[in-house]
C-alpha cells in the first residue's frame, strides 16, 4: 500500500459468456485485466500500481460458477464459485474436506462471500515491498528489497529464492495440490488441463507471474479427481490473526490409512516458497509406515530439509516441522 489510494479510470466490460470474455481479453492484451471477486485486483488499482485500461468483469458468467459432481466420482468447481459456497458445499465437506477447511480459513466472511476459488488460487504475491509498489524484480525492476541484509522478510520464503523471495499466500492452493486437482485453463487456443502442482510457478520460470496463465488465458474450473475422496485430511493455517490474515505457514495433507498404516499420502505447505510446496519427501517417509509419534516427528524433520531461511523467517522451519508432525499425528 503506497502513498496513493484512489482507483484510476478504466473501461469496464461485463460479458456473460466465457467466449466473449476471452475475446475481449484477447483484444485488450496487456491492457486488459480479468476481474473476479476483485479483492486482490482493487488493491492494485487503488494503489495505482497496476493500471489496466480495460477491466473484464467475469462475475456475470454463470457457466463458470457452481460445484458439479462428475461421473468419475470427483467434482468440478467453476472458477467463479465463491469460497463461501465451497466452505458450505456438502459434497466438498464430506469428500474433500481439506478444501472446505482451507476455504473457511481465507480472510473473512465477506471476502469469502465475494472471493472466488479462481481468484484465491491466482492471487498475486503479498510481499509487502511488492505490494507497496516499489519497482522490484517482480514488478519488472532489477532489485529485490526483501532479500537484503536488513530487509524485513519475516513472511518470506524458505525455498526457491531467485531474485524474488515472495511466497504463495493462498490457503486453498495447498489443498488443491494434495487433492491432485487439475486446473482447466481456457485461452484463445482452446482449453487445456494443468495439474495443480504445475499450475503455480516460481520466479525461476517467470518472475512476474504466480501461475502458468498467459495473458488472455483464464482459469475456468478446477477438476478434483476421486482419488483422495474420503481420505483422512488435515489443514491448518498459522497466522498472526485468526481473521483476515495470510498464513505464516499453512499445511494441507491427505492420507489413506488402512488399520494404522499410511498407505499413501499427499502433503503440501503454503507460504514457504513462491508456489505451494509439495512435500514429496514427507510422503516418501510416511508411505507404508504405521502412524506413530515417532513417525510424525520424523516426517516433520524431513519436511524442512534444505530450508534456507532469510534473516527474519527462520521460525518457519520449526513451524513447518511442527505442522507436518501434527498432520501426520492428528489427521
Amino acid at each position: 500500500m503506497g502513498t496513493r489510494d484512489m482507483m484510476p479510470s478504466f473501461e469496464l466490460y461485463q460479458p456473460d459468456t466465457l467466449e466473449a470474455a476471452l475475446d475481449l481479453l484477447g483484444r485488450f492484451g496487456e491492457d486488459g485485466w480479468a476481474l473476479a471477486g476483485g479483492n486482490d485486483s482493487f488493491d492494485w488499482f487503488k494503489d495505482r500500481v497496476k493500471r489496466p485500461r480495460y477491466v473484464v468483469d467475469l462475475t456475470g458468467i454463470e457457466a463458470l460458477k457452481g460445484i458439479r459432481e462428475t461421473a468419475d466420482g470427483g467434482v468440478e468447481i467453476g472458477a467463479l464459485t465463491t469460497l463461501t459456497e465451497i466452505e458450505r458445499s456438502d459434497v466438498i465437506r464430506s469428500r474433500f474436506g481439506v478444501l472446505a477447511e482451507a476455504a473457511s480459513k481465507v480472510a473473512s466472511p465477506q471476502i469469502r462471500n465475494t472471493g472466488t476459488i479462481g481468484g484465491n488460487l491466482c492471487q498475486d504475491a503479498r510481499c509487502w515491498y511488492y505490494r507497496y509498489g516499489v519497482h522490484c524484480y517482480r514488478a519488472g525492476g532489477n532489485t529485490c528489497y526483501a532479500d537484503t541484509p536488513e530487509g524485513q522478510n519475516r513472511e518470506h520464503c524458505l525455498w526457491g529464492a531467485d531474485r524474488c523471495v515472495a511466497v504463495s499466500p493462498s490457503d486453498t492452493a495447498p489443498a488443491m495440490v494434495v487433492l491432485d486437482a487439475r486446473m482447466v485453463v481456457a485461452g484463445p487456443n482452446g482449453e487445456r488441463e494443468v495439474p495443480a502442482e504445475q499450475f503455480f510457478i516460481g520466479p525461476s520460470i517467470d518472475i512476474t507471474r504466480m501461475t502458468v496463465l498467459e495473458p488472455g488465458e483464464l482459469l475456468t474450473a478446477i477438476r478434483i479427481p476421486p482419488s483422495w475422496a474420503g481420505a483422512r485430511f488435515y489443514f491448518e493455517k498459522v497466522a498472526d490473526r485468526n481473521v483476515w490474515d495470510f498464513p505464516l505457514v499453512n499445511i494441507a495433507a491427505a492420507m489413506r490409512v488402512n488399520g494404522n498404516v499410511i498407505e499413501d499420502a499427499r502433503f503440501a505447505a503454503g507460504a514457504v516458497q513462491c508456489t505451494p510446496r509439495r512435500l514429496t519427501v514427507v510422503e516418501e517417509v510416511v508411505r507404508g509406515q504405521p502412524r506413530s509419534e515417532d513417525l510424525a516427528r520424523l516426517a516433520g524433520q524431513s519436511a524442512v530439509r534444505g530450508a534456507t531461511p532469510l534473516n527474519y523467517n527462520h521460525f518457519k522451519i520449526p513451524l513447518l516441522q511442527n505442522l507436518v508432525m501434527r498432520a501426520v499425528r492428528d489427521a
Binding site: 482507483m7 473501461e11 466490460y13 482493487f42 500500481v49 477491466v55 468483469d57 473473512s108 465477506q110 481473521v243
Partner: protein, 228 residues
C-alpha cells in the same frame, strides 16, 4: 450555504512563511551501500510523483472501444429503484455515500479489511468498498438505512445494540449490524460461536466485540452468555 462566500471580506490571515533549513551540505554524504541502494530506487532528479520510487507511470489513457458498460443504471436499494450515473470504476460504497446520500455505510479502510462498509447484497454480507456498483445491478442492495420499519421502528438487531450498549465510537456499528442481520436471516437462532464467526469480518478498534455479540444473541431471542 445560504450566502455567497465570495461576498465576505478578506480574512485576517498571517503572511505564510517557510523557514528552509540548510541541509545541502548533508545531502551529498559519502556513498554508502545504503545510499547506493536508495540511488537505484530514486534515481533521477525530477520525475513525476507517480513514478518516484515506483515503477508505474501516470499513464495516458486511450479512448476505449465500444462495448463498455452504460453509465446510467438502476439500482435496487432498500427496496427502492434508484437511477444513478455510475462510473465504471466506482465502488458501491462511493455510490451509496456520495450519490445516494446513504452515509450510514462507512468507509473505514476502503480495502475490504475492516467491514465498516458492509451491506447486504441479496441478503449476503458484502464489503461495499470492494464491490463495483456495476457488479450489483439487478441485485437487492440493503444498507443500514433500510433496516427500520415503515414507522421508524428499529430492527431487532438495532434495538438490541442499544439495549446491550453495543457501539462505542459507533463507526463500525452499521457494518456490524448488517453482518448480524445477514446472519439472522440465514440462521435465526445462531449459537454465540456462530455469531462470532459471522461477524468476524468486522473490525472494532474500540474492542466492543463482546457487547456486539450480546446484542446479536439478544436480537435472536437468546441469552447472551449461555450460548457461548
Amino acid at each position: 450555504m445560504a450566502e455567497n462566500p465570495r461576498d465576505r471580506d478578506v480574512l485576517g490571515y498571517p503572511e505564510p512563511r517557510y523557514e528552509r533549513s540548510g541541509l545541502s551540505d548533508l545531502a551529498s554524504r559519502k556513498a554508502t551501500r545504503r545510499q547506493f541502494i536508495k540511488g537505484i530506487i530514486a534515481s533521477g532528479a525530477a520525475v513525476s510523483s507517480a513514478a518516484y520510487l515506483f515503477g508505474c507511470s501516470s499513464g495516458e489513457r486511450a479512448v476505449a472501444p465500444a462495448g463498455g458498460v452504460e453509465r446510467m443504471l438502476t439500482l435496487r436499494v432498500n427496496g427502492q429503484e434508484r437511477h444513478v450515473d455510475v462510473l465504471p470504476n466506482e465502488t458501491l460504497a462511493m455510490t451509496l455515500r456520495y450519490k445516494l446520500g446513504l452515509t450510514g455505510t462507512k468507509l473505514g479502510c476502503d480495502r475490504g479489511e475492516c467491514g465498516a462498509c458492509t451491506v447486504l447484497i441479496d441478503d449476503v454480507p458484502t464489503y461495499a468498498c470492494s464491490t463495483l456498483t456495476h457488479q450489483v445491478r439487478n441485485r437487492s442492495i440493503e444498507t443500514i438505512e433500510g433496516l427500520e420499519g415503515p414507522n421508524g421502528e428499529l430492527h431487532p438487531v438495532q434495538q438490541a445494540m442499544i439495549d446491550e450498549l453495543g457501539p462505542q465510537c459507533g463507526f463500525c456499528t452499521p457494518g456490524q449490524i448488517m453482518s448480524a442481520v445477514g446472519l439472522l436471516r440465514a440462521n435465526p437462532r445462531p449459537t454465540r460461536e456462530e455469531a462470532r464467526l459471522a461477524l468476524s469480518g468486522n473490525l472494532c478498534r474500540c474492542g466492543a466485540y463482546d457487547h456486539y455479540l450480546n446484542a446479536v444473541m439478544r436480537a435472536a431471542g437468546q441469552s447472551a452468555v449461555s450460548q457461548a
